[in-house]
C-alpha cells in the first residue's frame, strides 16, 4: 500500500514537473477568463434598444385606420386616441387592458350582418392573457423587443387577412356568426368594467373581473382555475400590480421578483393545462412532471419569500426566463459546466502522454525493472490521471466562480437551490448544485481520459493518443448527434458519445428517445471496461522492445 502511494507520488511529480502541466493550469484559468469574458461581451451586445415610441405607433395606426376604414375602425381609432391621451409606460398593465376592453367594445358595436373580418379582435389574440401589448413585448416571458416588428393590434384587424380559426373573442363568440344580443351586453359590461378600472388604475378591480371571467369559462379545468386564482389572490394580497415584464429591464425595481415569478407560474399553468387536455397517451409525461415541479417550486418561493433560487435544469421552463436576472452570477455560473469539454482537451493531453511518454523517452525500461508488478504501475498511472482530471475540474470550478463574480458581481451569491423530492421542496446551496453539474460533466471527461489512456498504452505514441483523443472528443459528440438527429440511426445510442453527456440526458435534450441516465451509465461502464482491457494488454502483457 505504501508502495502504491509511492507510485502515485511518482506519477504526480512527473505530471506536474513537465512544463506543459503549468501551461495547462494557465490554460484552465484562461478558459475561465475566456468563458466569462465571452458571456460578458455577448451580454453587452444584447443591450436593450428602443427604436420605437409607442405614441408614434398610435398616431400611425390612427392614420392607417382613417385611410383604410376597415370594419370596426372607429372603435380602434377611439382606442388609439385613448392610449395617446393616457400614455402608459411600456409595461403598464393598463396598456394591455385597454386593448382587451376595446376588443369587447368591438363585439358590442359589431353590425348584425355577417362579415368575416368583424370577428377579429383588434389585437387578434386572447386579450386576458395579455400576450400582446402595444410595444410588442410578449409579456410573460418578454422575449419580444419593442421595436414594433411584431406590431400587434391594428395590422391584423385592418388588413383583414386573418383566417377565422386564428381568432376568437374572449367570451368565446362563434367566429363565423355575429354576436348575439346577450353577448353584446356582456361585452359592453366588460368594456365598462375594464375601462373604469383603467381610469382609476384599479388593478385589483381588473383582476377581480378576470376571476369572474375565468369562473365562467367552461374550457378550464378546476385545477387550472384554482392555480390561476391562487396567482391572482397572491397579487391582491401582496399588492403586486400585474404590470408586464420587459426582458432587458428585469433589474428595475418595478419588475420585482414576485411579479416575474407570478408570470412564469401563469405560463407553467397554461402549458401544463394544454398538456393535460391531450389524451393521456399523447402527453409528454416528463414535461408534465417538470412543469408540476416548476409550479411547486415557484409557489414555494412566493410563499416563503425566496427571491432568487437555482432550479433543476429544464429546457422547456428555462425558456420562460430564469429566476435570476440575466447576466447575473447564477445565470452565468450554472451554465459554465458547458465549458468542461475544453478541460477534457487538456486532460487528454495528460492521459495520452501518461504511458506513451515513458516509451518515447525510453524511461519505461527503467520503470519496469523495479520490484513492482506492471499492473500496479498502470493502476497508479490511471489513478493519477483521474485525480489530476478532477483537480483540473476543481480549479476550473473555483476560477469560474471567482471570475463570474468579478465580471457579473457577487449579488445573490447565497441563493439556494430548490428541487422537489417526493412531494416536498428541498433546499441546498446552489454551489453544490453547480458542483453536481461539474461532477456529471466529469463523467464525460473521465471517460475521454480513459480512452486517451487506452490509446496511449496501445500505440505507445503520445502524438497519436493525444491527437486521436482530442479529435474524438471534439467531433464524436457532434457526429453522434448528427447520426441520431439527421439520419435517425438508432444504434448510434450505443456509441460512447451518445452517453457521456449526462447533463443533456438528464434534461432530455438528446436525439435518442427514452435515453436514461442508468442506461448511459451502463454503456459507459462497458466502454470503460473495454478501454481498460486495451490499456492492460498494452502495458502489462506486451513486451518492451
Amino acid at each position: 500500500m505504501r508502495k502504491m502511494w509511492g507510485l502515485i507520488t511518482n506519477e504526480y511529480i512527473k505530471i506536474f514537473s513537465r512544463i506543459s502541466t503549468i501551461i495547462m493550469l494557465i490554460a484552465i484559468i484562461g478558459l475561465a477568463v475566456g468563458y466569462n469574458g465571452l458571456m460578458y461581451l455577448s451580454g453587452q451586445a444584447t443591450v436593450y434598444n428602443s427604436f420605437y415610441e409607442p405614441t408614434d405607433y398610435y398616431r400611425e395606426q390612427i392614420q392607417f385606420e382613417q385611410q383604410n376604414k376597415q370594419p370596426g375602425w372607429e372603435t380602434r381609432i377611439e382606442m388609439y386616441t385613448f392610449l395617446l391621451d393616457n400614455t402608459f409606460t411600456d409595461n403598464d398593465w393598463r396598456g394591455g387592458a385597454v386593448y382587451e376592453a376595446y376588443a369587447l367594445k368591438e363585439i358590442a358595436n359589431a353590425p348584425s350582418i355577417d362579415t368575416p373580418e368583424e370577428t377579429d379582435t383588434p389585437d387578434g389574440t386572447d386579450a386576458p392573457d395579455g400576450t400582446d401589448t402595444p410595444d410588442g413585448t410578449d409579456t410573460p416571458d418578454g422575449t419580444d423587443t419593442p421595436d414594433g416588428t411584431d406590431a400587434p393590434g391594428g395590422t391584423d384587424a385592418s388588413d383583414g387577412t386573418d383566417t377565422p380559426d386564428e381568432t376568437g373573442t374572449p367570451d368565446g363568440t362563434d367566429p363565423d356568426g355575429a354576436p348575439g344580443a346577450k353577448e353584446r351586453t356582456e361585452a359592453q359590461a366588460g368594456f365598462d368594467t375594464i375601462i373604469t378600472a383603467v381610469k382609476n388604475d384599479d388593478w385589483k378591480g381588473y383582476l377581480n373581473y378576470q376571476i369572474a371571467q375565468m369562473n365562467a369559462d367552461e374550457d378550464m379545468t378546476q385545477e387550472e382555475k384554482d392555480l390561476k386564482s391562487w396567482i391572482i389572490q397572491y397579487r391582491i394580497s401582496h399588492d403586486i400590480r400585474p404590470d408586464y415584464l420587459l426582458y432587458s429591464q428585469d433589474d428595475k425595481p418595478r419588475d420585482n421578483w414576485q411579479n416575474k415569478t407570478l408570470f412564469r407560474l401563469e405560463n407553467c399553468v397554461s402549458m401544463l393545462n394544454s398538456e393535460l387536455r391531450l389524451p393521456y397517451a399523447d402527453r409528454d409525461h416528463k414535461k408534465v412532471a417538470a412543469l408540476n415541479e416548476a409550479v411547486l417550486i415557484d409557489k414555494h418561493r412566493l410563499v416563503n419569500d425566496i427571491p432568487v433560487a437555482t432550479q433543476p435544469d429544464n429546457p422547456e421552463i428555462d425558456q420562460m426566463g430564469a429566476t435570476f436576472a440575466n447576466n447575473s452570477f447564477w445565470s452565468i455560473f450554472t451554465t459554465s459546466a458547458r465549458a468542461i469539454s475544453f478541460v477534457s482537451v487538456l486532460i487528454i493531453i495528460v492521459a495520452g502522454s501518461a504511458i506513451a511518454s515513458e516509451f518515447s523517452g525510453g524511461t519505461v525500461k527503467f520503470l519496469l525493472i523495479n520490484p513492482v508488478k506492471r499492473w500496479k504501475i498502470l493502476v497508479a498511472k490511471y489513478i493519477s490521471v483521474l485525480s489530476v482530471a478532477l483537480l483540473m475540474l476543481l480549479v476550473f470550478y473555483v476560477f469560474n466562480a471567482l471570475l463570474t463574480g468579478l465580471f457579473f458581481g457577487f449579488g445573490d451569491i447565497g441563493a439556494p437551490h430548490l428541487y422537489v423530492s417526493g412531494d416536498t421542496i428541498q433546499s441546498t446551496s446552489s454551489f453544490v448544485f453547480v458542483a453536481w453539474k461539474y461532477l456529471l460533466g466529469s463523467i464525460d471527461l473521465l471517460t475521454m481520459a480513459t480512452l486517451a489512456f487506452a490509446i496511449s498504452s496501445l500505440t505507445r505514441s503520445s502524438a497519436l493518443s493525444i491527437g486521436l483523443g482530442v479529435f474524438l472528443t471534439l467531433s464524436g459528440k457532434g457526429a453522434t448527434l448528427f447520426l441520431g438527429e439527421s439520419f435517425k440511426i438508432d444504434w448510434a445510442r450505443y456509441l460512447i458519445f451518445a452517453n457521456t453527456n449526462l447533463n443533456s440526458i438528464m434534461t432530455r435534450t438528446t436525439p435518442f428517445l427514452g435515453q436514461t441516465v442508468s442506461f448511459a451509465l451502463m454503456v459507459i461502464a462497458v466502454y470503460v471496461l473495454v478501454f481498460w482491457i486495451t490499456a492492460w494488454d498494452g502495458f502489462v502483457r506486451r513486451d518492451v522492445k
Binding site: G6, T9, I13, I19, K365, I369, N370, P371, V372, K545
Partner: protein
C-alpha cells in the same frame, strides 16, 4: 564462497518468426564481473531484457537469487539492478529527483544511501541540476547510481561504457571491480569494447547469433588467443632490417609497418634477447610493448568474423 546469483537456463526468444535467442544457458556468481560479449545483433540486449523482465521468456527460465523472474517478478527484481541500452532519464527532473523516483519503488533505500551512491558515481556537484543539462556520460553515471542504490545482488549493465571518456571508463571499471570483488555483487556487463572487457571481466561469455558459443575465464581466453604465445609490438627506426636480423629465431612476425613490427613470442624472456640483438646491430629501439588486442582476435575468430555474418 561464490554462490550462483543469476541462472539463465535454456532460454529462447522468438520475435516475429525469427528465433533471436536460441537455447542459451549461463550463470553468474557473486563476486565476479561477467562479460557478455558479442557482435552487433548477437542478442545481448535481448537476453538482458529477458533477465530484467522487460521481455517475456518464450522458453526456459531465468532465476535471480533463486527467484524465477517470470513467476516471482517482485522478489527477483528486488535483487537486481541495471541499465538497459542507453541511460534514459526524465529530462525535466533533476538527477536527485530521478533517483527519488526509483527510491519510491524499492524498499530499504535511505536518503543516506542515495547520497552515498551519488558520491560513488561522482555526481555530487551536479545532482540537483535538471538532467536535460547532463552529458551522456553524466547520465550513464546517474543510471549506475540508480542501478546500485538498493544494494542489488545482481547488477546488469548493457554497454555501460557508452559515452564515457577514458577517465570515466577507468573509473567505471574500478567501481564495478570493487562492487564485485569487495561487496560480492555479481556484475553482468555487455559491451563491444573488448579491450575494456579484458581489463574488467573475470569471466566472459561469448554470444553470436543468439547462441552462447563459449564461457571462459578471461585468462583462458587470452591463452587461447595467443596459442600460448604473446604478441609484442617493437617500434624501431628500420623495421625491415630488424625483421631480417631476427629471421633465424623461432618467431612469428605478424605485421610490418614503416615504424614497427609485431612479434609473437613463446615467452616473455625472449623479449630481452631480442632487444639486445637489435641494439647490438645498431637499430634504434624506441619501444617494445605487449599488444592488448588479443581478446579481439579471439573474439573475431570465435564468432566467425563479427556481426556482419549472419548464419
Amino acid at each position: 564462497m561464490s554462490e550462483t546469483i543469476l541462472q539463465v537456463s535454456q532460454v529462447s526468444k522468438m520475435m516475429g518468426k525469427r528465433l533471436i535467442i536460441d537455447n542459451i544457458s549461463f550463470e553468474t556468481y557473486s563476486g565476479e564481473v561477467f562479460g557478455f560479449l558479442g557482435p552487433n545483433g548477437a542478442g545481448k540486449t535481448t537476453t538482458i531484457k529477458m533477465i530484467l523482465g522487460l521481455l517475456a521468456i518464450d522458453a526456459g527460465n531465468v532465476e535471480i537469487c533463486g527467484f524465477n523472474v517470470a513467476k516471482r517478478f517482485e522478489k527477483a527484481m528486488a535483487q537486481a539492478g541495471g541499465i538497459v541500452e542507453n541511460p534514459e532519464t526524465y529530462p525535466y527532473l533533476s538527477g536527485m529527483q530521478n533517483l527519488l523516483q526509483y527510491k519510491r519503488m524499492r524498499s530499504g533505500v535511505t536518503k543516506n544511501r542515495i547520497r552515498e551512491v551519488v558520491n560513488i558515481v561522482g555526481l555530487e556537484n551536479r545532482i540537483h541540476e535538471k538532467v536535460k543539462k547532463y552529458s551522456l556520460g553524466m547520465r550513464q553515471r546517474l543510471g549506475l547510481a540508480q542501478a546500485i542504490m538498493h544494494n542489488p545482488k545482481l547488477l546488469v549493465l548493457d554497454e555501460p561504457t557508452n559515452g564515457l571518456d577514458p577517465a570515466g571508463i577507468r573509473e567505471l571499471r574500478d567501481i564495478l571491480k570493487r562492487l564485485a570483488h569487495e561487496e560480492g555483487i555479481a556484475v553482468l556487463v555487455s559491451s563491444h569494447l573488448l579491450s575494456e572487457m579484458e581489463l574488467m571481466c573475470d569471466r566472459v561469455g561469448i554470444i553470436s547469433n543468439g547462441r552462447i558459443i563459449g564461457v571462459k575465464s578471461t585468462k583462458e581466453l587470452m591463452e587461447q588467443a595467443s596459442g600460448g604465445r604473446k604478441t609484442f609490438r617493437f617500434t624501431v627506426n628500420d623495421p625491415n632490417r630488424a625483421v631480417a636480423l631476427l629471421s633465424d629465431m623461432e618467431l612469428t612476425v605478424t605485421n610490418i609497418t614503416p615504424e614497427n613490427f609485431d612479434l609473437a613470442v613463446a615467452d616473455d624472456t625472449m623479449v630481452g634477447t631480442i632487444n639486445a640483438r637489435l641494439i647490438n646491430a645498431g637499430i634504434i629501439l624506441l619501444g617494445a610493448a605487449p599488444i592488448e588486442r588479443s581478446l579481439e582476435d579471439v573474439f573475431i575468430e570465435i564468432t566467425g568474423g563479427g556481426g556482419n555474418q549472419i548464419a
